[in-house]
C-alpha cells in the first residue's frame, strides 16, 4: 500500500473518536445537502408544473375556416414556447359547458352550440413566455380574443401569478441554500480543527520526515488523503441514507402529489438524478477536503 495512504489510515486508527466526530458531522452535512438537492429538484419540477399549467385559449372568430384554423394550429405546434395544442370545436365547447353545469341541467339546455366559439387551447413551456405569446396571438386574423387561465393563491392576473411563482422559487432557493451553506461552513471548520489536532499530534513525525529529507508534498499528502477519506465517507453515508429514505417514502409521496412529477418515475432517470447528486457532492467534498487540509497545514506552519 502506498506510504501516504497507509499513513492516513494509521492516523485514523490512532484517533478513532476524532475521525468519527468529523465523519459524523460530514455525514449530517451531506445528508442535508442531498435532501436539499432532492427538494430543490422536486420544487423546480412543482414550479415548472404550475408554470405550465395555465392554459392559453385563443377564441376563434366564426369566420375562421378549417384551413385557417389548421394553419394556425400548425404554426402554434411548431412554436418552441408552446406545447400541447388542442383544437376545441363549438360542439366540444358546449359539451364542456354542459359537463361543468351538470348540477344545473337547465343552464345547459338554454344554450346552443352557436354561442360558443371554437378555440385553440395550449400550455406554455415557461410562464415567462405567456405575455409575448398572447400579444402575438391577438394579432392573428382569425383570433377573436385570448384567454389565460391562471390561478394560484387567489391571483388572477398573469403578472401576479408569475411574481408569486418567482417568489416561491426564490425563497426555496435562498432558504435551502443558506441552510446548506451554514452546514457546509460548520463542517469545513470542524474538518480544519480535526486536521489541526491531527497535525499537532503528528508534529514529531513531521520533524522526523523533515530531517530525513521528505519533500513538503510528501508530508502534506497523508493529511490531505485523510481529509478526503473523511469527506468521501461522509458524502457516501449522507447520500446513501437519503437515498434509502427517499426510496422508502417515494411511493407515498408520488401517490400524494399525483400527476405533479416531484421525482422521476423512470428508475433509470431516478438513479441518474441520484448519481449526479453523488458526483456533485463528491467533487464538492474533495474540494472542501483539499482546501481544509491546506488551511490546517498552513495554520500549523505558521504556529511552528
Amino acid at each position: 500500500m502506498n506510504y501516504q495512504l497507509k499513513s492516513a489510515i494509521t492516523s485514523i486508527k490512532r484517533f478513532p473518536f476524532q475521525a468519527l466526530a468529523a465523519i459524523f458531522l460530514l455525514t449530517v452535512t451531506f445528508l442535508v445537502v442531498t435532501i436539499l438537492s432532492v427538494v430543490s429538484y422536486s420544487s423546480s419540477k412543482v414550479i415548472k408544473y404550475f408554470e405550465t399549467r395555465p392554459q392559453v385559449i385563443a377564441f376563434l372568430k366564426d369566420s375562421a375556416t378549417v384551413e385557417t384554423i389548421s394553419a394556425l394550429q400548425h404554426k402554434l405546434q411548431n412554436d418552441m414556447r408552446i406545447k400541447e395544442v388542442k383544437y376545441v370545436s363549438k360542439e366540444e365547447a358546449l359539451s364542456i359547458y354542459r359537463d361543468a353545469t351538470v348540477d344545473n341541467p337547465l343552464l345547459g339546455e338554454l344554450v346552443n352550440p352557436s354561442i360558443f366559439p371554437a378555440s385553440l387551447e395550449f400550455s406554455l413551456n415557461d410562464l415567462s413566455h405567456a405575455q409575448g405569446v398572447i400579444e402575438e396571438l391577438k394579432t392573428e386574423a382569425i383570433v377573436d380574443s385570448v384567454g389565460f387561465t391562471a390561478s394560484l393563491g387567489g391571483e388572477k392576473s398573469l403578472g401576479d401569478v408569475v411574481n408569486r411563482l418567482r417568489e416561491i422559487t426564490l425563497y426555496l432557493k435562498l432558504g435551502g441554500g443558506f441552510f446548506a451553506l451554514l452546514l457546509v461552513g460548520t463542517s469545513f471548520l470542524v474538518l480544519v480543527v480535526t486536521l489541526g489536532m491531527r497535525i499537532a499530534s503528528r508534529r514529531g513525525e513531521v520533524e522526523i520526515l523533515n530531517l530525513i529529507g521528505a519533500q513538503k508534498s510528501f508530508i502534506k499528502k497523508p493529511i490531505i488523503i485523510e481529509s478526503i477519506i473523511y469527506v468521501l465517507v461522509g458524502v457516501t453515508l449522507g447520500w446513501l441514507i437519503t437515498l434509502i429514505a427517499i426510496l422508502y417514502v417515494a411511493p407515498s409521496a408520488i401517490n400524494y402529489f399525483g400527476e405533479i412529477p416531484i421525482l422521476p418515475r423512470d428508475p433509470l432517470m431516478f438513479f441518474s438524478l441520484f448519481g449526479i447528486i453523488l458526483l456533485g457532492e463528491a467533487v464538492t467534498g474533495i474540494l472542501l477536503a483539499t482546501l481544509g487540509s491546506n488551511l490546517a497545514l498552513s495554520r500549523a506552519g505558521r504556529k511552528k
Partner: protein
C-alpha cells in the same frame, strides 16, 4: 566532504561553537569527542542544516550549506544518513515500516523496498524483529533500527550522534563494526561520542571539543 570554516553558533547567551574550523575528507571516518555541551550535536545539526550558524561557512559535498534553499533542503538531506541521539523512530510503526519510510521519502520504487529492507535488517541483526514496534525493542535494537534507516538509503555521508550511548560494550562494538564496514565501502562517517573506550579501540581520526572549541585534533 565536510568543511567548517570559523563557524560560531550561539543559543541565546550560550556559545555552543566558537570559530570552529575543520575538514573531513571523502571516505574518512572521524570521531567528534567531548563531554556533554561541548558542541558535538551542534556540529551535526549544522551539517544537516537543522540549525543555522551565526557566522562562518559550512560546506557539505562541495555545497555551501547556507546557500541550500528551503526547496532544495529535502534533496540535500536525502544524501545524508543520520542516526539521531534520541533515535527519532516512529513509535506507531514497526521496525520494517520505520526503515520503509526512508525509501518512500527518496521515492525509491516500491518493488525494490522489500529486498533492500530485508538486506539491511539482516545486516543489523533485526530481521526477526522486523514486525515489532520500537516500544517492543531493546535499547540496542532501537539504535540498530535507527542505523538501518540511515543506511538503507545508501547515503554518501553518515552522521551518528552518540550511537553507542547507554549500550553495553558488545552492542556498542557491534554498531561501530557496522559503521566501519560502511566506511570501508567509501562512505564518509562522522560519529559524535563521549565513549573513550570505543574511540580508542577504533583508532580513527578524532576531533576533541570542549566548550564549543576544538581543543585537540
Amino acid at each position: 566532504m565536510v568543511k567548517f570554516k570559523l563557524v560560531t553558533k550561539t543559543y541565546g547567551e550560550v556559545c555552543a561553537l566558537k570559530d570552529v574550523s575543520f575538514e573531513v575528507k571523502d571516505g574518512e571516518f572521524i570521531f567528534l569527542m567531548g563531554p556533554s555541551g561541548a558542541g558535538k550535536t551542534t556540529i551535526l545539526k549544522l551539517i544537516l542544516k537543522e540549525i543555522f550558524p551565526d557566522t562562518g561557512e559550512i560546506h557539505v559535498g562541495g555545497v555551501d550549506v547556507s546557500k541550500v534553499s528551503e526547496k532544495d533542503l529535502p534533496g540535500f538531506r536525502q544524501k545524508v544518513g543520520c542516526v539521531f541521539q534520541d533515535f527519532k523512530l516512529l513509535n506507531e510503526r514497526t521496525t520494517y515500516e520505520n526503515i520503509e519510510i526512508a525509501l518512500a521519502v527518496l521515492d525509491v520504487p516500491e518493488s525494490k523496498w522489500k529486498e533492500r529492507i530485508e538486506k539491511i535488517l539482516k545486516m543489523v541483526g533485526l530481521f526477526d524483529r522486523k514486525n515489532l514496534f520500537p516500544s517492543q525493542l531493546s535499547g540496542g535494537e532501537i539504535q540498530m533500527a535507527s542505523l538501518a534507516r540511515a543506511l538503507v538509503v545508501n547515503p554518501d555521508l553518515i552522521l551518528a550522534d552518540e550511537p553507542t550511548g547507554n549500550l553495553d560494550w558488545d552492542k556498542a562494538d557491534e554498531i561501530m563494526e557496522l559503521l566501519e564496514g560502511v566506511n570501508k565501502e567509501g562512505k564518509t562517517v562522522i560519529v559524535a561520542t563521549h565513549n573513550k573506550e570505543i574511540v580508542n579501540k577504533m583508532k580513527k581520526r578524532i576531533i576533541k571539543l570542549a566548550s564549543g572549541k576544538i581543543i585537540k585534533e
